[in-house]
């Protein structure tokens, strides 16, 4: 396995540098464009674009509920996947160095977790959550 680089908080300093680069790049680009570009306005130009027609009504209105259901089912399943990550980081080392019983315990805990996830998945399927037609 690779050399153990020390796991220090200073490892995150490059990310701070990238945050500075990122903010600098984004802000300078937008400001430069605002300064250099022309600026002319008028009632027709300020109107919302609707293929050249006079805009009909407002956009702030209710929309199809199926997007809300997608967001909910995403939350349910994605949070479960986050729980897989710590499990995945210890499984291979335990299989390598631990006893067979420890490996079996980890595998069975995964199976129970996936079974619970599948119950939720089957319930959602039965309820018609995955019907978009």
């Amino acid at each position: 396995m690779p050399p153990d680089m020390e796991d220090a908080p200073s490892n995150w300093l490059p990310v701070v540098l990238l945050i500075i680069i990122g903010v600098g790049f984004v802000v300078s680009n937008i400001v430069a464009s605002l300064i250099i570009g022309p600026s002319r306005t008028g009632p027709g130009k300020a109107a919302t674009y609707e293929s050249g027609m006079v805009p009909v009504g407002d956009t702030r209105r209710r929309f199809n509920v199926r997007f809300y259901i997608v967001a909910m089912i995403f939350l349910v399943i994605d949070v479960d996947i986050i729980f897989f990550y710590p499990w995945a980081t210890i499984f291979a080392p335990v299989v390598r160095t631990g006893t067979p019983q420890q490996g079996a315990a980890l595998l069975i805990s995964l199976l129970i977790f996936v079974a619970l996830l599948l119950v939720a998945y089957a319930y959602a399927w039965g309820k018609g959550v995955f019907r978009w037609d």
């Binding site: 396995m1 990238l18 299989v95």
Partner: protein, 469 residues
């Protein structure tokens, strides 16, 4: 030793070079995309600005700056600017953990006047910031009390990448999922119906494909027990039977295809481009954007392609590893090299592999028609999520069955050829089961039936109730 080497860590240079290189590549990827589109459609493509249109990206960039950055009166002023800024910011941040060139090792010799108590302390003082001292420094003292001189030889290593985080893959997934906000905020703040619908569709598309994306990454993570991309790449840089590189494309082909599909969907590109379906939604979530704010959306799409393709290369194609490119000095740690040239060459290998994956992106975009919304959703929720979940189970079970009996795996943690063959067979069996299972599933209801629109002239409702006299 020069002042720069001890006081400015290597990652500062790597960060600026990688940032500049990726932005430059993005500009030329747009030209490449237009050339590929033209070639697919039997046209010439951009060829007026400079030879072969090579100066076109510069002209495009200047135009972005010189055009008017207009905001419609009804748009939310702050969110309208925040959305493209957030998209680009996230893409710049996401390149942090890409393992460009393995580990650089340097051995130095310094002379200190007088005898010294702790060679390690002196060596640590002269080690560049961010590098790790390896082993014990060797001290040689010469001369007598007054003219004594100590020669210290010490070795240090640093990762040839921007940030060596132990949660690398998780960091990239987390950062890239923020880009969903850029799309939905941009669509909402424009206060335009096209933008709003595009933003909604893009959100549904992107969050749906994040689930199989995370699961297909997990199938790789579980094999090595590490989230560090550098570790995952190094574990792929050995050979089976002395010739076949131990890349994950050979052990997890199914996970690779799931991952490739997911990064297409995450990039909102054809065939998953319902977010900006030109024929229906004008420009999708960036309909109202112009000048540099539009440019940032555009750049971030291509920058995101580079990052996700690079992650794909690191997970499935061995990252910087290229058979025949030597330079490693430590047999136990193939990533360690003493030569800066090898590090740069490895970064180039990594980059060329990334460009090949991006070539697949462009090939797919100009070959396949757009999916319908329900087809995209069905593919994610009914097909890819169960497949990825089962692949995770199969990988874990294979590791459990073969790992404890494999002496080489127990000693090093590397995937041996026996386990690779087992994983490949498991993949093939999975594919057969999926093909057989898909035929057994009840057929989906016909999706192209006519939808009743009450009150319209296409309404198939029974005749209206006779009006009471």
């Amino acid at each position: 030793m020069s002042w720069i080497e001890t006081h400015i860590p290597a990652w500062v240079f790597i960060a600026f070079i990688a940032h500049g290189a990726i932005l430059g590549t993005v500009a030329y990827l747009i030209l490449l995309e237009r050339k590929i589109a033209a070639w697919t459609q039997d046209r010439l493509g951009p060829n007026r600005v400079g030879p072969f249109g090579l100066l076109q990206p510069i002209a495009d960039g200047l135009k972005m700056l010189l055009k008017e950055d207009y905001r419609p009166a009804d748009a939310d002023p702050r969110l309208f600017t925040l959305a493209p800024a957030l998209m680009m910011f996230v893409m710049i941040l996401s390149i942090a953990v890409l393992p460009w060139g393995g580990t650089k090792q340097t051995t130095r010799t310094i002379q200190v006047a007088g005898t010294i108590d702790s060679a390690t302390a002196v060596a640590e003082q002269n080690t560049p910031f961010g590098a790790t001292l390896i082993g014990t420094p060797i001290v040689q003292t010469s001369g007598e009390d007054e003219s004594a001189k100590s020669t210290i030889t010490y070795t240090y290593r640093y990762a040839f990448q921007i940030a060596n985080l132990n949660i690398g893959v998780l960091y990239i997934v987390a950062i890239l999922s923020i880009s969903v906000y850029g799309v939905v905020v941009g669509g909402w703040a424009s206060n335009n119906k096209y933008s709003f619908l595009g933003g909604l569709r893009a959100t549904a598309n992107m969050i749906s494909y994040e689930v199989p994306l995370g699961l297909s990454i997990l199938t790789i993570v579980v094999m090595y027990g590490s989230l560090n991309l550098a570790t995952i790449v190094e574990a792929q840089s050995h050979y089976w039977f002395g010739v076949i590189p131990a890349w994950n494309i050979f052990t997890q082909p199914l996970a690779f295809f799931l991952f490739l599909t997911c990064i297409h969907a995450e990039a909102n590109r054809a065939p998953f481009d319902i977010a900006e379906a030109e024929q229906e939604l004008v420009g999708g979530y960036h309909t109202e954007y112009s000048a540099m704010r539009f440019g940032l959306f555009f750049l971030s799409e291509y920058a995101g392609m580079i990052t996700t393709s690079a992650v794909c290369v690191a997970l499935f194609f061995g990252g910087w590893h290229l058979p025949g490119l030597g330079g490693n000095v430590d047999p136990a740690h193939p990533s360690v090299t003493t030569s800066l040239v090898v590090c740069v060459l490895r970064a180039l290998v990594f980059f060329v592999k990334t460009l090949i994956i991006i070539g697949i992106f462009m090939w797919v975009r100009w070959s396949l028609p757009r999916f319908r919304f329900d087809q995209i959703m069905n593919l994610a929720w009914r097909a890819m999520i169960p497949m990825a979940l089962v692949m995770l189970l199969v990988t874990a079970t294979t590791l459990y069955l073969f790992g404890p009996h494999d002496e080489a795996f127990r000693a090093t943690g590397l995937i041996t050829w026996k386990m690779a063959v087992a994983l490949l067979i498991a993949n093939a069996v999975m594919l057969v089961i999926i093909a057989a299972g898909a035929a057994l599933l009840p057929a989906a209801p016909p999706t192209n039936r006519r939808v009743r629109v009450l009150g319209s002239r296409f309404d198939q409702a029974p005749a209206a109730v006779p009006a009471t006299a």
